[in-house]
Amino acid sequence: MSEFLQFTFSGLTVGAIYALVALGFTLIYDTSQVINFAQGEFVMLGGMTTVFAAAAGIPLPLAAIVAVLITVCFGFLLYRLAVAPARGASPVTLIIITIGASIMMRGLAAVVFDKNFHSFPSLLGDKPIKIDGAAILPQSLLIFVGATIIVVALWLFVNRTLTGKSMLATAANPLAARLVGINTSRMIGMSFAVSAAIGAVGGILATPIALTSYSVGTFLALKGFVAAMLGGMGNPIGAVVGGLLLGLFEQFGAGYLSSQYKDAIAVVVLLVVLFTMPNGLFGKAGIERV
């Protein structure tokens, strides 16, 4: 039983991070139909910038805020300088652009920062809390709380503010949104900025447990993409559920079956889900017009 609880805790911790990456994918996809493969780089930038800002003598909480702001700038620039100029290009062309941006950001991080692994101490210390024979790190609790706050804040932003509703309108029907006077280009830019912020926070929360380096982005983008597709692309609830499930499958697979093949179990689950539900768990069936 304590084993089961342990795997659940670690699964949810990892899953919460995947969920945040997947949420970033979903947000950008909804407004612009772009699969942003640079999403993992946002997570990397969040963690790395915090590490180096803190090393430069800025207090940790302030360093985290600086990191989020810098990452948001990158998100906005990614849209303005790389995605917006190619508007009207096919989705696959836009994907290659985001892959190019991801390579660029990784290279930039390697030059500006370095190529080593880094971490910073958790705000809550690292003395594990014992629950029923299972141990949970205080930072894991911080990750849960942080992820929950982000999801709730995003929900409030999208459903309760005018800007959020304009973004929703842009996602639902760009032409109709433009007709009622919404600046859709600005809304898409904003979705990139918000996604970058979500990614950065995820990176900052994960760093005390998982370490960070200039190259962690690719792996996170991969996991986030899988999580988003598992949940059903374009659905924020799906992204969160997909992320948590992916984390749980990995940890249970590693714990009960084989640590070597922990990713294999997650992949097999993904394939089984897609074969039975071709649009993911919460995805809508696409309709093809002839």
């Binding site: 290659i96 991801s102 390579i103 660029m104 294999a264």
Partner: protein, 315 residues
């Protein structure tokens, strides 16, 4: 006149033959021949992927898996089964095609990004097998690949592999061009444009998708076998996610739906990192920047976009 010559599919095969024959006259030295051989080997895999993506419109983010099957087949065949290298290569290609055939039917029912993520998963599974079955494959450290014996002598060195890969590239391009200009090729393009419309016209879309998926898997496996035979060593990264992405980038950058584009895309992505070493630590930044700039200004891919411009100007 020039246009009609250009439009003939065999003009392109002729042009490739000429380039393969003439290039060694300009680029002497083992380094250049090595790079050229790598371009040809990558181009073989990318042409296969382009048939799938550019013509039939089905995305694959897992093609390095098939590439890896070919690469490990020539390493494992001789050591564990006692097969000669050439037979291992054929077996690898056949196995890769068979795997594509078996998983193709359920996977190809998926569309768009869901197909992308399913093929990505398939590629990851293949990579994991190579990475984890250490007793057979040496795990993450990789394994030695026996040399290919041709008519009693060992095929080693850039010059020999330049000619082997060049000849195979010509052959593979010829097959691909023949296919594209056949009723099957037209069926592919119909499926790309609209699955429903093609089904209404009586095209068995499941069968055609499966056919092109299997063919592209065989192309990738052959390229993979060449790659590891040329290198003499193979690691699981040969089948890794990054290589799958690299193939897709080559296909899209060069131009989807263009065989010449596949070769140009492969050439660009093999040569660029070599050329960019002058930028030292800024190499990745420049590479990413070049990819973005190319895609913004030539969104249809290098070859189709330039051709469209040239046609527009001469019209």
């Amino acid at each position: 006149m020039a246009r009609r010559l250009f439009a003939s599919p065999y003009a392109l095969v002729g042009a490739i033959v000429l380039v393969v024959i003439l290039l060694p006259l300009i680029l002497t030295g083992n380094f250049y021949l090595r790079v050229a051989a790598l371009v040809y080997i990558n181009a073989i895999a990318v042409i296969g992927l382009n048939l799938l993506m550019g013509y039939a419109g089905q995305v694959s983010l897992g093609h390095a898996g098939f590439f890896g099957i070919g690469a490990y087949a020539v390493a494992l065949g001789p050591t564990t089964l006692g097969f000669p290298v050439w037979l291992s290569l054929v077996t690898g290609a056949a196995f890769s095609g068979l795997l594509a055939f078996v998983v193709g039917r359920p996977i190809l029912r998926l569309r768009g990004h869901y197909l992308a993520v399913a093929t990505l998963g398939l590629g990851l599974l293949i990579w994991m097998v190579f990475n984890n079955q250490s007793e057979l494959t040496g795990g993450p450290n990789g394994m030695q690949v026996p040399r290919l014996m041709l008519f009693g002598w060992r095929a080693v060195g850039p010059i020999i592999w330049y000619w082997i890969s060049g000849a195979t590239l010509v052959f593979c391009s010829w097959i691909a061009l023949n296919l594209i200009n056949s009723p099957t090729g037209r069926a592919f393009r119909a499926i790309h444009d609209s699955e429903i419309a093609s089904r209404v016209l009586g095209i068995d879309i499941a069968r055609y998708k499966l056919l092109v998926f299997v063919l592209s898997a065989v192309y990738a496996a052959i390229a993979g076998s060449y790659f590891s035979l040329f290198d003499g060593f193979v690691t699981p990264d040969t089948a890794g996610f990054l290589r799958s992405i690299e193939f897709v980038v080559m296909a899209v950058l060069g131009g989807l739906g263009s065989i010449l584009g596949s070769i140009v895309g492969a050439a660009l992505l093999v040569v660029l990192p070599q050329a960019l070493t002058v930028f030292h630590e800024y190499e990745e930044i420049v590479l990413g920047l070049i990819m973005i700039v190319f895609m913004i200004f030539l969104p249809g891919g290098i070859v189709p976009s330039l051709l469209a411009r040239w046609r527009w100007r001469t019209a």
